[in-house]
C-alpha cells in the first residue's frame, strides 16, 4: 500500500497499511431501523465500499444530524458523531477545516438537511468544504412518525396534513446546483452497483459532494419511488446521466432529453433525432444545463427522475485555502513562546523600573 491515494478528495488522508474488509468497518451496535428500511441497503453499500477506499479506518469520520438515517454513524466502526438536528454540515466544516488528514462524511435526511438545517447545507455547498454529504431522501418524516417533509409532494396526506399538504417541495438536486455545489449526484438505495459507483466518485471529489439518495420508508411512505424501482416501469422512468453519453432511455430507447428552445430548458422527447439528444456534460463549468436536467424530476408523485452525476467540477475548496493562509502566515513564526511574548508586548509600551 502506498502512503497517498490517487483521489484528490482524499489527498492528505493516510492509506491503510493492509487490505481491509467489511467486518472491520462494522461496529458492535445492533442496527435499529425498521424491517425493510432503505437505510439497511445504504449501510451495506457503505460498509462494503469503505474498505475499497484503502484509508486508515481511524481517519474516517461520519457526522450526522437527527432523524432515522442519522443513526448511521453508530453502525460503522470509524470515528463518528451523532449530533443535533440539521447542524452536521456546520460541525463537519470545523472538523474538515482543521484536519486535512480526515475523510469527513455527513449523513443526513430530507428533514434534517432541507428543513431545520437548510441554511448550513447551502453554505457548506457554496463554500466547497472537502466533505461528502449523503442525503437520504424518503420524502417523509420517519422518526417523528409520519409528518410531510420538505420534499413531500403537494397534496400529501399525513398526520399533520389531513387535508393534504399545501407546501411546495424542494428538489434537493436543484437546490444544490443553485448553491453552485461542485459535485451533485442522485442515486437509489436499491441499486447497490450505482450507489457504490456514485459514492466512489463523491469520495474522490475534492470539495463538497452532495449525493441525494432516494430511500424507501416502508412504514410511512412505502413505494414512493416505485416508478424508478419496478422492473416493468423503471426503464421509462429513470433518466440516466453518464458523462459524455447521450441522455437516451426508455424500454426501447425511444426517449431522449433535448433542448427546449421555447423555455431555454430541456425536455424529454419521443423518438428524437440522435443529433438532437443532449450529450451529458457533468464537467461543464456553468451549472445551467445541469439545473435544467434536474427540473425533469417530478415535484409531485415520482414518475420520472434523472439518476447519476449531474455536476462534477473542480474548484478551490474552503478548507484548503484556509489552511494555506495559515501555512503562509506561519512562515517565520519560529519559537511559539517567543512569538507569543512578542505579540503581547506589541504596540505602544512603557517600562516602570
Amino acid at each position: 500500500m502506498t502512503d497517498t491515494l490517487p483521489f484528490p478528495g482524499l489527498r492528505g488522508v493516510p492509506a491503510a497499511d493492509a487490505p481491509q474488509n467489511r467486518k472491520e468497518f462494522t461496529s458492535d451496535q445492533e442496527v435499529r431501523w425498521c424491517p425493510g428500511c432503505g437505510d439497511y441497503a445504504v449501510l451495506a453499500a457503505v460498509q462494503g465500499f469503505l474498505p475499497d477506499l484503502g484509508l486508515k479506518r481511524e481517519n474516517i469520520v461520519f457526522v450526522s444530524g437527527i432523524g432515522c438515517s442519522s443513526r448511521f454513524p453508530y453502525y460503522l466502526d470509524t470515528y463518528g458523531m451523532h449530533s443535533i438536528h440539521g447542524r452536521a454540515p456546520a460541525i463537519a466544516t470545523g472538523l474538515a477545516t482543521t484536519r486535512e488528514d480526515l475523510s469527513v462524511w455527513v449523513v443526513t435526511g430530507d428533514g434534517d438537511a432541507l428543513s431545520i438545517g437548510g441554511n448550513h447545507l447551502i453554505h457548506a455547498l457554496r463554500r466547497n468544504v472537502n466533505m461528502t454529504i449523503l442525503l437520504f431522501n424518503n420524502r417523509i418524516y420517519g422518526l417523528t412518525k409520519g409528518q410531510y417533509s420538505p420534499t413531500s409532494e403537494p397534496g400529501k396526506v399525513t398526520k399533520s396534513t389531513p387535508m393534504g399538504s399545501v407546501d411546495n417541495p424542494f428538489n434537493p438536486v436543484s437546490l444544490a446546483l443553485g448553491a453552485e455545489a461542485t459535485f451533485v449526484a442522485r442515486t437509489v438505495d436499491s441499486d447497490r452497483k450505482h450507489l457504490t459507483e456514485v459514492l466512489s466518485a463523491a469520495a474522490a471529489h475534492r470539495g463538497t459532494s452532495l449525493v441525494a439518495i432516494y430511500q424507501n420508508c416502508p412504514i410511512f411512505n412505502d413505494d414512493a419511488f416505485e416508478a424508478i424501482k419496478d422492473n416493468d416501469t423503471k426503464a421509462d422512468a429513470i433518466i440516466p446521466l453518464r458523462h459524455g453519453e447521450t441522455i437516451r432511455f426508455g424500454s426501447r430507447g425511444q426517449l431522449g432529453v433535448v433542448r427546449d428552445p421555447t423555455t431555454g430548458g430541456v425536455r424529454v422527447a419521443q423518438d428524437p433525432d440522435d443529433a438532437d439528444v443532449l450529450v451529458h456534460d457533468a464537467h461543464a463549468e456553468d451549472p445551467t444545463t445541469a439545473f435544467a436536467i434536474s427540473r425533469l424530476t417530478d415535484a409531485g408523485v415520482l414518475r420520472h427522475a434523472p439518476i447519476g452525476i449531474f455536476r462534477q467540477v473542480e474548484a478551490a475548496t474552503y478548507d484548503d485555502q484556509a489552511r494555506e493562509q495559515i501555512v503562509t502566515a506561519s512562515q517565520g513564526t519560529g519559537d511559539r513562546p517567543a512569538a507569543l511574548a512578542g505579540l503581547l508586548s506589541s504596540g505602544d509600551t512603557w517600562t516602570v523600573v
Binding site: 461496529s27 451496535q29 486508515k56 479506518r57 481511524e58 481517519n59 474516517i60 469520520v61 457526522v63 450526522s64 437527527i66 454513524p73 453508530y74 466502526d77 470509524t78 470515528y79 463518528g80 458523531m81 451523532h82 449530533s83 443535533i84 447542524r87 456546520a90 460541525i91 463537519a92 466544516t93 470545523g94 472538523l95 474538515a96 477545516t97 482543521t98 484536519r99 488528514d101 480526515l102 441554511n119 448550513h120 453554505h123 484556509a322 489552511r323 493562509q325 495559515i326 503562509t328 502566515a329 506561519s330 512562515q331 513564526t333 511559539r336 513562546p337 512569538a339 507569543l340 511574548a341 505579540l343 503581547l344 508586548s345 505602544d348 509600551t349 512603557w350 517600562t351 516602570v352 523600573v353
Partner: protein, 630 residues
C-alpha cells in the same frame, strides 16, 4: 506667555461629538498618550448602535471618557471634570453628567441655528446664562483648523475633518501629554495620503500651540505618573486582551485555535483580532449564523482543536442547543459572551450583566456549564486562559462572560511573562483503557470513551486519527463507561449526577476567596462579579475614607463557586451584591447559601456610579451596625 502649572491628582475628560467626528479615535489617542506618560487610567467609550445616525442629532452623539490619575484608579469616573463638545447635540446629551464648575470646551462653529434646532435648543446656550455655573470656553475650532491646514490644499470639508486633532492637541497641552505617539500614529495611519497625514499632524500641533498662546487658559495642569509595580506595560481593551488570552490558551495547551463566529456587537472585535494572527495557527471561520459558528467550533474540538465561539446574548440564545451537545459529548469548548443590554436586540452598544442566568440555565435538561468572568479589561487575558484551562482539563463547554464595558474599555496592563503562564495538558487518549471479556491476556483491549478520570471525572479525549480508539459520541444519553446509547433509568440518573459532579469538582482548582477588608472588622460585605469590580472598589474606598468599615470580594468563578464562598458569606452581618441586572447573582447566592443578600441593581446600559453605590453601602452599614460616617 508663561503659564501657571497646577498639580492635580486625577482628571476625568469626556470627548463628545457627532458619530462622524472621530471622538473614539480622539479619546483613544489621548488614552495612549496618557498611558505612555505613566498615569493609571480607565476608559469608557459610549457610542450609538447606528453607524452614522443623522448628523448633528442627539441620537448621533458619540463620546469617549478617560479617567487618569497619579494613583491607582478603578473606574472611568462618574462625572467629568472636562467636557469637550464638538456640536450642540454633544453638549446637550452630556451636560447632565457634568458637575458644576467643570470645564466645557465647545466648537462654536457648529452652534448654528440649524444645529441648535437639531439638538432642540430654542436659543444658543453660548449666548444666554444657562452655562454660567461652568467654566465655558467657546472656540472656533473648525475655523482655526481650516486656517492651520490651508497650505495642503484640501477641500474645506476635508480640512475641517481634522478638527478632532486640533481639539486633541489643545487637551494634550492642557494636561502635558507626550505627543510623539500620536504623531507617529497619524504618520502610520495616513501613510498613503500625505496631504491628509500632514493636515492631521498640523492640526494637532496647532491645537497644542493654541493652548500655549491663548489667554483663555492661564493654567496648565500636571498629573504625576502613578506608582506602578516594575514591569513593561501597555494600554489594552478587554476584547484585545481576551483575543490574546485565547491565543495564549492555544500556545500553552499546544492545541490549534479554531474560532467559529458570526459578527455581533460588541464581540466582533475578537473575530477581527484573531483573524490577524493566523501565524499562531489560528483558524477563523466567519460562519453563516451563530449556530454554525459554535457547531464548527465543536466539530474542530472533536478533531483536537481548541474550539472557540464568540458572541453576545442574542447569539447565546441561538447556540444553546449546541452547547448542550457539548455538555453531553463532554468535549472542550469555549463560549465567549460579551454581554450587552437585552432582552432581544436590546442595547447593542451598551453594557449589562443580564446573561448570567441564561448561560447558567438556558439549556434543556440538567446541563451544567462552568462560567468564568473577567473583572477588568486587562483581566480578560487571564480569564480567557483560565476558561481554556477548565474546558480542556474537564472536557466541557465553558462560558466566559465579558461585557460591553470590559470589551471596549481600556486600562494599563502589566504584560505577563510567557514562562509564568499556566501550562495546559490536553492529555489526549492514546491507548485502549478497558479489558473486554474477549481479551486473551487480561490486557486492555478496547476503548471506553466515558471511563472517567478519578480526580476530575473528565472523560478521555481521543481524537480521530488515533488507531484503535474509534468511537461514536452524540447527543443521546450515554452509558457510563462504555458510552454506547443507553435509555436505562438508573444510568441516566447516574450520568446527570456525574456531569453535575464533574463541574462541581472544578472548585478543587479554584483558589480561596480573597476578601479585601483593611480593618478586619467590617460587618458588611460587598460581593460582585465581572465589570462591577471597578465601581465596587471605588465605592468601598469612598466608604472607608468616610470612616466606615466595609469588606469587598469579587467572584471570578460563577459556576462552580469557590468552595469557601459559603463560609465567607456567613462571616458578615449583611451582604450586598451590586449588579447591572435585576439580581441574578443575588438569586444564585440566595438559593445556594440561604443568605439574605441585599441587591443593588441598575440597568442603564452604563457602569454603576461609584458615588451612588457608596451611598447605598453607607446606608446598609448604618442599618446593620448603627454606625454613621464620621
Amino acid at each position: 506667555m508663561t503659564k501657571q502649572v497646577k498639580q492635580l491628582d486625577r482628571v476625568i475628560i469626556r470627548f463628545a461629538g457627532d458619530s462622524g467626528d472621530g471622538m473614539q479615535l480622539t479619546g483613544d489617542r489621548f488614552t495612549q498618550e496618557t498611558a505612555s506618560f505613566g498615569n493609571d487610567l480607565s476608559t469608557l467609550p459610549n457610542f450609538p448602535a447606528e453607524i452614522r445616525a443623522p448628523q448633528g442629532t442627539l441620537p448621533g452623539v458619540s463620546s469617549f471618557q478617560v479617567h487618569f490619575a497619579d494613583h491607582d484608579i478603578l473606574t472611568p469616573g462618574d462625572s467629568p471634570d472636562v467636557l469637550v463638545a464638538m456640536n450642540p447635540a454633544a453638549l446637550k446629551a452630556n451636560l447632565a453628567d457634568i458637575k458644576k464648575g467643570a470645564t466645557i470646551i465647545v466648537d462654536s462653529h457648529d452652534f448654528t441655528t440649524r444645529n441648535l434646532n437639531k439638538a432642540a435648543y430654542a436659543e444658543s446656550p453660548l449666548e444666554n446664562d444657562s452655562l454660567s455655573e461652568y467654566d465655558l470656553h467657546a472656540f472656533e475650532l473648525t475655523d482655526m483648523t481650516v486656517e492651520a491646514v490651508k497650505e495642503f490644499g484640501l477641500s474645506r470639508k476635508d480640512a475641517s475633518r481634522a478638527k478632532n486633532m486640533f481639539a486633541l492637541g489643545l487637551l494634550s497641552w492642557m494636561y502635558g501629554r507626550p505627543t510623539e505617539s500620536t504623531i507617529a500614529f497619524l504618520e502610520r495611519r495616513f501613510a498613503k495620503a500625505p496631504d491628509i497625514r500632514d493636515a492631521n499632524v498640523t492640526a494637532f500641533n496647532a491645537g497644542w500651540y493654541f493652548g500655549e498662546t491663548t489667554e483663555a487658559f492661564v493654567v496648565q495642569y500636571e498629573i504625576k505618573p502613578a506608582p506602578m509595580a516594575a514591569g513593561t506595560y501597555r494600554n489594552i481593551t478587554g476584547n484585545l486582551a481576551l483575543a490574546y488570552g485565547l491565543i495564549a490558551g492555544s500556545t500553552q495547551s499546544g492545541l490549534p485555535l479554531f474560532l467559529g463566529s458570526y459578527p455581533i456587537t460588541p464581540a466582533s472585535d475578537i473575530l477581527h483580532e484573531l483573524s490577524k494572527h493566523k501565524r499562531f495557527g489560528v483558524t477563523t471561520f466567519q460562519a453563516e449564523d451563530e449556530i454554525a459558528g459554535v457547531g464548527a467550533a465543536l466539530g474542530a474540538a472533536f478533531g483536537g482543536a481548541l474550539g472557540v465561539t464568540t458572541t453576545s446574548g442574542p447569539g447565546i440564545a441561538l447556540k444553546s442547543e449546541t452547547i448542550g451537545l457539548g455538555v453531553m459529548m463532554e468535549l472542550p469548548l469555549l463560549v465567549v459572551d460579551v454581554q450587552r443590554g437585552g432582552p432581544s436586540t436590546g442595547l447593542p452598544t451598551k453594557t449589562e450583566q443580564a446573561d448570567l442566568l441564561q448561560v447558567m440555565f438556558g439549556r434543556n435538561g440538567e446541563s451544567p456549564v462552568p462560567v468564568v468572568a473577567p473583572q477588568s479589561p486587562a483581566d480578560c487575558f487571564d480569564a480567557a486562559v483560565e476558561a481554556a484551562r477548565i474546558a480542556i482539563t474537564y472536557r466541557t463547554p465553558v462560558v466566559l462572560l465579558s461585557d460591553g464595558m470590559l470589551a471596549n474599555g481600556s486600562e494599563p496592563w502589566k504584560i505577563p511573562e510567557v514562562a509564568d503562564l499556566p501550562v495546559i495538558d490536553p492529555a489526549f487518549a492514546t491507548a485502549t483503557n478497558h479489558t473486554s471479556a474477549k481479551s486473551p491476556d487480561g490486557e486492555h483491549d478496547e476503548f471506553w470513551p466515558y471511563l472517567r478520570d478519578e480526580k476530575t471525572l473528565a472523560r478521555p479525549w481521543a481524537v480521530p486519527g488515533t488507531a484503535g480508539l474509534e468511537h461514536r459520541i452524540g447527543g443521546l444519553e450515554k452509558g457510563e463507561g462504555h458510552g454506547n446509547i443507553s435509555y436505562d433509568p438508573a444510568n441516566h440518573d447516574l450520568m446527570v449526577r456525574t456531569r453535575a459532579a464533574k463541574v462541581a469538582r472544578i472548585a478543587q482548582d479554584i483558589p480561596p476567596m480573597e476578601v479585601d477588608d483593611p480593618s478586619g472588622e467590617a460587618k458588611v460585605l460587598v460581593l460582585g462579579w465581572g465589570s462591577t469590580y471597578g465601581p465596587i472598589g471605588a465605592a468601598a474606598r469612598q466608604v472607608r475614607t468616610a470612616g466606615l468599615r466595609v469588606a469587598q470580594a469579587h467572584l471570578r468563578h460563577l459556576n462552580p463557586f469557590p468552595s469557601d464562598l459559603g463560609d465567607v458569606l456567613k462571616r458578615y452581618d449583611a451582604v450586598m451584591i451590586p449588579e447591572m441586572n435585576l439580581g441574578q447573582l443575588s438569586m444564585l447566592v440566595r438559593a445556594k447559601y440561604l443568605v439574605d443578600v441585599v441587591g443593588y441593581n441598575h440597568v442603564r446600559g452604563l457602569p454603576l456610579r461609584a458615588a451612588e453605590l457608596a451611598d447605598a453601602i453607607t446606608d446598609l452599614i448604618s442599618t446593620t451596625t448603627q454606625e454613621a460616617p464620621r
